[in-house]
């Protein structure tokens, strides 16, 4: 990949964009990708060793404690919206992002002194609060630094870097435990050091003024009212509705892995590695699908991703037990993420004016996350009522229905419209 000179300001890449010539991904996007990569190494280090730490380090039975229960899901939705709104007020995307990344970073050393489950639960909640706060401003900065017609690719590059960090994190953690058995304090300390590097890269290499020059006359002023008024915009409403609809039929990852093991008889020793399969496919496909979304339309790719998920459900339904089947399901699952996660943000950026970019993205992310949460509750209830196979069949039917609904709603192709970029 051609990496642009990081000294150049992230001025309108549109100026460099001529049809038929490949443009570089904006340096701001690469810097944010690096921040995400580094931060994910740090947070996945902790995630990977946490159960080991609780069980062997502290001698606890973490079962039934519900470290973070469902109430937190509602709270994190609120945090995301707050983060989005604060970032838009006065174009403080970077400040809010620095606060979010910083909050998560300081949580790491706190784990060293948290010796009981309730305290560890509280630290993890603070960590996730930081994550919730920074997500929308970060995605807004990515979209504002990229030309409208190259946003899919920009988000693809960012998501690929992010996932690379998620894959590296557990590796680093287990390397440390290899050097020092029971060295959980070392894992948490190194995790903090890595997180601090992430914050530093953000502070040093991501320009603060992502929102371009002065507000254009007549452009909406960032306020709560204006953010809510976004839902009155036809385009935003359609996108949010589609994300919501499809989210309602998106079964959570943990269920997918559980079903994979139960229905396809994946050997026990591989169970912990299943999420890595999804992540690897996501990593490999994020950039190509982002580019494809730029070319053929984000909306088509977004729907196509859900079609891949539907195929994954379908493969889990019958009683086949082919040796290759788990790989195919994981590849489809990763493809689903690669075709939807960043692509939805690229599409949403086209529907939301620059001044309200963070709020708008937060709104759509929250709608999608809440819908998925509702789906996981409903799926659990369906499992209890009818068993896993019927529950999965119902989810597949619901997904097909929601997809049909989304096709009917069909937002205009955001690749050809633009809600504003850097002037």
């Amino acid at each position: 990949m051609y990496v642009a000179d990081s000294r150049s300001t992230p001025a309108a890449p549109a100026a460099r964009l001529t049809t038929g010539r490949r443009s570089a991904v904006a340096p701001t996007v690469l810097a944010l990708g690096a921040v995400s990569l580094i931060t994910d190494v740090s947070s996945e280090m902790v995630t990977a060793v946490l159960p080991l730490y609780l069980v062997t380090g502290l001698g606890l039975s973490p079962l039934g404690f519900g470290l973070l229960d469902g109430v937190y899901n509602g709270f994190s939705a609120l945090v995301r919206l707050v983060g989005g709104h604060l970032a838009d007020r006065g174009g403080r995307h970077k400040a809010v992002a620095v606060f979010g990344y910083g909050l998560s970073a300081v949580c790491k050393p706190l784990l060293l002194v948290a010796g009981s489950l309730p305290v560890i639960g509280a630290v993890l909640a603070a960590d996730r609060t930081g994550k919730g706060l920074r997500t929308a401003p970060r995605d807004a900065m990515i979209s504002l630094a990229s030309a409208p017609e190259a946003r899919g690719r920009a988000f693809g590059v960012h998501r690929a870097m992010d996932t690379a960090g998620a894959l590296l994190g557990p590796l680093v953690a287990f390397l440390i435990l290899r050097q020092a058995v029971d060295g959980y304090d070392a894992v948490f300390t190194v995790s903090f050091c890595v997180a601090a590097v992430g914050v530093l890269v953000l502070v040093l290499f991501v320009p603060a003024r992502a929102a371009g020059p002065e507000r254009a006359p007549g452009a909406p002023r960032a306020s709560l009212k204006a953010a809510l008024a976004l839902l009155g915009e036809r385009e935003v409403r359609r996108l949010a509705l589609c994300a919501l609809l499809l989210g309602l039929a998106t079964v959570s990852d943990s269920f997918v892995y559980l079903l994979l093991q139960r229905r396809l008889d994946v050997p026990d020793r591989w169970f912990a590695l299943l999420p890595l399969g999804t992540a690897a496919a996501f990593l490999l496909l994020a950039v190509p699908l982002g580019r494809l979304a730029d070319r053929v339309g984000r909306w088509q790719v977004f729907l196509g991703g859900h079609a891949a998920l539907l195929c994954a459900y379908a493969l889990l339904l019958p009683g086949w037990r082919g040796a290759a089947l788990p790989y195919v399901v994981l590849a489809l699952h990763g493809l689903f993420y690669a075709a939807t996660d960043g692509v939805l943000m690229a599409a949403a950026a086209g529907a939301v004016p620059a001044e309200l970019r963070s709020s708008g993205l937060a709104l759509i992310q929250t709608g999608q996350a809440s819908a998925r949460f509702v789906c996981s509750i409903a799926f659990g209830a369906a499992w209890t009522a009818w068993g896993d196979r019927t529950a999965l069949g119902t989810a597949a039917a619901a997904l097909a229905l929601c997809a049909a609904g989304a096709v009917l709603l069909r937002p205009a192709d955001p690749a050809r419209t633009d809600g504003g970029t850097l002037a």
């Binding site: 519900g66 530093l200 912990a272």
Partner: protein, 340 residues
């Protein structure tokens, strides 16, 4: 700030943070090295022959946690002199249990990327008969009184997809045929007289009555149950709620267990009880501390369990009728089983 200055700041910070990170890893590694040196005040441990065969002299076999070259190895002491010199076997286990000359040892195995775990079935001479890969971190192990069946429980979790939710998997193995029930979640469940299934069902802490029947904890919808299981019928039936880690007395009449008691702090929620299966009456045991373990019956009158100690865990014994109080049985030990 110019790019040059930014890079200077970044490199300086990188050097400082890399120093801190390296120091913390080295510190943790040297602490581990210390654990391989014998402590002056620790119990004497020497390597030797360990047999699981029930012989005339009663012995306790357990995971020795005393610092030194035999740390984490299976060791035995005479039951009459638990604080006396230990004989270590050279076999390392995280969790262990044995009965009638069959042992089940849950141990870590180094993988290329991350450590895995396996259950190893041992014969009376601690020779491996078979091993099975485990999907998570070992927490409980048991063998049926005849030595024919083994059961183990692991924690599964620690992936971002699971968030902070943990689940358990409990497997039962017939050591004679190699028939493995990978997870009790495949069994039919009868809850309060009705068939029941749910995605959030978890089982842990099997205790065997004989080669067909067992008791275990089942958790679902934020409640825990004592279940009685039938291996042949592949079915479990709930008996009562709020009961974890059952342990059946040698005479089969009572179950020792831990129970969540309202009003105790969230990080120490359990109290020990014994349930009489004939009358279904519970007796609180005289242990004021919160115990997170599956108890072991020393005989029909006494239970043994572990509590956190200076070297990881110490073992305590306690009358099973609610009288008396806890006595320290031995220091730096975990996962005991009585032989003979």
């Amino acid at each position: 700030m110019t790019l040059r200055n930014k890079l200077i700041v970044l490199v300086t910070a990188l050097l400082v943070l890399a120093g801190v990170a390296t120091a913390s890893v080295l510190h943790a590694a040297s602490r581990e090295d210390r654990k391989n040196q014998v402590q002056a005040d620790g119990p004497p441990v020497r390597g030797g022959q360990v047999s699981l065969a029930p012989d005339s002299a009663r012995r306790i076999v357990f995971r020795n946690m005393a610092w030194g070259p035999h740390r984490d190895e299976l060791a035995t002491v005479p039951a009459a002199d638990p604080a006396g010199p230990r004989t270590a076997s050279g076999v390392k286990c995280l969790r262990f249990y044995a009965a009638a000359g069959t042992g089940v040892c849950l141990q870590a195995e180094r993988g290329a990327v991350r450590d895995g775990y396996r259950a190893v079935i041992l014969d009376a001479d601690l020779k491996e008969r078979a091993h099975y890969g485990l999907p998570g971190i070992p927490t409980r192990a048991r063998v049926s009184p005849s030595g024919h069946l083994a059961a183990w429980t692991v924690f599964v979790g620690g992936d971002s997809y699971a968030g902070t939710n943990f689940s358990t998997r409990t497997a039962i193995l017939d050591t004679r045929t190699g028939a493995l029930t990978r997870t009790l979640e495949d069994f039919a469940i009868e809850r309060d007289g009705h068939p029941y299934h749910a995605s959030d069902v978890n089982f842990w802490g099997v205790t065997f009555a004989d080669d067909q029947h067992f008791y275990a904890t089942m958790a679902t919808a934020k409640k825990t149950y004592l279940v009685r299981g039938d291996l042949a019928a592949r079915k479990v039936t709930t008996l009562r709620t709020n009961l974890e880690c059952p342990s059946l007395s040698p005479d089969g009449t009572r179950i020792a267990f831990k129970k969540r008691v309202a009003g105790l702090p969230a990080d120490a929620p359990w109290h020990l009880y014994v349930l009489d299966l004939a009358t279904m009456r519970e007796t609180a045991l005289a242990e004021p501390r919160s115990v997170d373990d599956q108890l072991v019956w020393q005989d029909d009158r006494t239970v043994v369990y572990s509590l956190p100690g200076d070297y990881g865990a110490d073992l305590y014994s306690l009358p099973a009728d609610g009288t008396g109080g806890p006595r320290r049985l031995l220091t730096a030990g975990l996962a005991p089983a009585y032989l003979g």
